[in-house]
Amino acid sequence: MSDRSAALRLPRLAAHELVLLVILIVALAVLAALSDRFFTLDNLLNQGMLMTEVGLMAMPMTFVIVTGGIDLSVGSALGMCAILLGYSWHNWGFPLPLAIGFALLAGAAGGFVNGWFITRLNVPPLIMTIATLALYRGLAEGISQAHSVRGYPDWFYGLGQGALFGVPSQLWLFFAAILVFGVILGFTTFGRALRAIGFNETGARFSGVPVDRIKLIIYTASGTMAGLAAWIFVSRVSTTRSDMGTGMELDVIAAVVLGGTSIFGGVGTVFGTVLGLLLIQLLKDGLALTGVKGDATIMVIGTVLIASILVTSFAERRRDAARASNPRSPRATTTEGRETP
């Protein structure tokens, strides 16, 4: 192949993303046929609004998982930021804009703490973020003492309930985040470094990639996005409670993994994550509209997750078998480049 075509080609659509796209279209068609309220602009925009918080957190989560890490603390961080926003305004007398800034900063700090322990003290991300999952939720509950905060001024609801050019305000933020994170992962040195770290951290280090700094940045970004999601969440539901965001980390991670990002690192795209988010949200909504109960909806989503991964790994095995060329050992295809700690 000529180097021109290689240079100009956009990041390829992985098999997994194509599979997802097909599933998504089929799901859309089926749900639209089952309920006449599903495929309407109003409903779709409303669904977009509902998925924004999870979606925003799924962006940095894609980065974190691409490096082979995980951030389980985002749901708790959202709760903590929401409480700090409400309490600093209501109880501590912060002006509301300052309270918002404070909440975002608290999210960033929460993420930074994760990143610091993970890079400086080599705490495994799973352990570290399980610990802060408990810690940040505990802080939220301790500060709020089970009291909720309501009665925000009208302008505050603009972000969560308002619209701009007919599209819910927070969706614009979400679009911007998709664009920014997608471009970073697909086209920049930072994105390339994330993948290199995910495949082989030692190799990346020995190539001069500032591994620790990059990890610190992405965990901080993850916390910051949890803060932003907290602001949107509070603005959307008009109240602040300490249990906000409970279990949300699993929705975020499910979307990222469904989107084809490998939990082992190195592989993943923002586009895939967006497909994952859309599929989960539309299934939830569509099934609810057609009268399926909540529990059954969750089961359907679990089944779709398993099915999509099966289809992809089947396709990959076929492809590998077709072109397996010169691995050093039969295991090489699964273990190559992965360092042993």
Binding site: M1, D3, R4, A6, A7, L8, F187, T188, T189, F190, R192, A193, R195, A196, F199, N200, T202, G203, A204, R205, F206, S207, G208, V209, P210, G266, R323, A324, S325, N326, P327, R328, S329, P330, R331, A332, E336, G337, E339
Partner: protein, 519 residues
């Protein structure tokens, strides 16, 4: 000591066996086997046979098709064409399991053992003797492990030992035992001595001879020609996927084999040419990072190749990684072009013009699941980017140039690096660091595990780079390489410098003596 001269004394009395062997029916015979992968014709009509109780060496440069051939024999790959006969009967090996069942066992370079389990558990993993209700029959397992030990005259291994605590040589013996416990008649060994100490090599040879005496046929892949002469009965040479020749070892010699492998006579393996030595480029003054780097002072000049000899574990790689900033030094100073500098990270080292080609290609040198393009650009990615955006065209150009300049055999720049052969992977590592235009090049075992042709190419390249004024520090465990390539030889022992020899005074015995210490 590098494993240079394995014991050769025992090779003489076998000439008679070989003559009678010629009349025997092969245990396994491959005829006209072809295999292609997208973009690569790996095997073109290769024929290969193994007689009962012979050691058959398989030689060839990296990419010659050795790995593909043994993978076909061991059921990992399926041939596109040609036939395979076991005891004269055509067979088709559908999977590694089928090959095992047919009595063909393969020992790969990466040993596939369970480090947390004991020797006996590893040996019988998957086919342990059972009692009623499927419970494991532990007394029988222990008993049969001991029988196997006795068969191979192994008396220094404990069946209850955990495999993870064993040396590489011992783990390899466990793999051999494992193969034997499944009644393997054909044992395929892929570069078994690549990671062994000299002592382990001698023990391995003893085992291989013992196996042969028991009638086991052995396919032995190696890059070390001495081993062919010490061990093998016949040798087959492959080149570019084609069968070049199969000869009794007694009827060939070293030059002949090299000629067959590379298709040309190599005048000298170590073509270091004399160049003008310039001013000092790299100076270390009392560099320390205990325990493996202790008060090291040395100077490397422009145009000079300084060889760093020493035993495995003497601290050579650790010193290199301290200079390179991967594990920054804790004491002493580094001067580059006479200026005192601090190297706290790899990125800083790169900016100072220091490049390090590590010994461990798989984890330190390359990101193997990434493509040739992504690997060649990784160390210089920021130079190929504007405002953080990678210039894909420039990146592709760099990769194309690297592939062309080093003659890398690859299907293209979008090929995944892990699928290239060892020598080609090493060329990518070198190319990746030369793209950073270094002034100081540290090479850690630059030719380990790569074939004669690629080795000569890398030596020629080193010479050329020194000629262009690079300061080269070369770590090598092969004394002939150190002595042939270096302007000066430094010796490390226990983390400190233990000797320095100008080229003229660097005799093999003196350097070796400095490596081993006075004791």
């Amino acid at each position: 000591m590098p494993p240079t001269e394995p014991p050769i004394a025992e090779q003489a009395p076998r000439a008679g066996d070989r003559m009678s062997a010629a009349a025997q029916q092969p245990v396994l015979a491959l005829e006209g086997v072809t295999k292609s992968f997208p973009g690569v014709q790996a095997l073109r009509g290769v024929s290969f046979d193994i007689l009962p109780g012979e050691v058959h060496a398989l030689l060839g440069e990296n990419g010659a098709g050795k790995s593909t051939l043994i993978k076909i024999m061991s059921g990992v790959h399926h041939a596109d064409g040609g036939t395979m006969r076991l005891d004269g009967q055509p067979i088709r090996l559908g999977s590694p399991l089928a090959a095992r069942a047919a009595g063909i066992a393969t020992i790969y370079q990466e040993l596939l053992l369970f480090p947390e389990l004991t020797v006996a558990e590893n040996v019988f993993m998957g086919h342990a003797p059972r009692r009623r209700w499927g419970a494991l029959d532990w007394p029988a397992i222990r008993e049969r492990t001991r029988t196997l030990f006795a068969a191979l005259d192994i008396n220094d291994l404990d069946p209850a030992q955990v495999v993870g605590a064993l040396s590489v040589g011992n783990r390899q013996r466990v793999e051999i035992l494992r193969a034997l416990s499944q009644d393997a008649r054909i044992l395929v060994m892929d570069e078994p001595t690549a990671a062994l100490t000299e002592h382990d090599v001698a023990r391995l040879f003893a085992i291989v001879r013992r196996l042969r005496a028991r009638g086991v046929s052995i396919v032995y892949i190696t890059h070390r020609l001495e081993e062919v002469f010490a061990l093998a009965d016949r040798v087959t040479v492959l080149r570019d996927g084609e069968h070049v020749a199969t000869r009794p070892v007694a009827e060939t010699d070293r030059a002949d084999l090299i000629h067959m492998m590379v298709g040309r006579r190599i005048e000298s393996l170590f073509p270091k040419t004399a160049v003008k030595i310039g001013p000092p480029v790299l100076e270390l003054r009392g560099l320390s990072r205990p325990p493996l780097t202790r008060d090291v002072s040395l100077t490397v000049h422009a145009g000079e190749i300084v060889g760093l000899a020493g035993l495995v574990g003497s601290g050579r790689s650790e010193l290199a990684q301290a200079i390179f900033g991967a594990t920054p030094a804790t004491g002493g100073s580094i001067l580059v072009n006479g200026q005192a500098v601090r190297v706290r990270s790899v990125a800083e080292a790169r900016r100072l013009g220091i490049a390090y080609v590590p010994e461990d290609r798989a984890t330190q040198g390359l990101i193997r699941p990434m493509t040739v393009r992504e690997n060649t650009s990784l160390a210089v990615l920021s130079d190929l980017a504007r405002l953080g955006f990678i210039d894909r065209a420039a990146e592709a150009r760099l990769a194309q140039e690297t592939v062309a300049q080093f003659g890398v055999r690859t299907a293209g720049i979008e090929q995944v690096v892990g699928r290239l052969s060892g020598g080609n992977q090493q060329k990518i590592v070198l190319g990746k660091w030369l793209a950073a235009k270094p002034k100081i090049l540290i090479l850690d075992e630059p030719t380990r595990g790569i074939d004669v042709g690629a080795k000569a190419e890398i030596h020629r390249l080193m010479s050329e780079l020194a000629g262009r004024g690079l300061a080269v520090l070369m770590i090598s465990s092969e004394l002939p390489e150190v002595l042939g390539m270096s302007d000066r030889v430094l010796v490390m022992r226990d983390g400190a410098l233990a000797g320095a020899f100008p080229r003229a005074e660097a005799a093999q015995e003196r350097v070796a003596a400095a490596m081993m210490g006075g004791a």
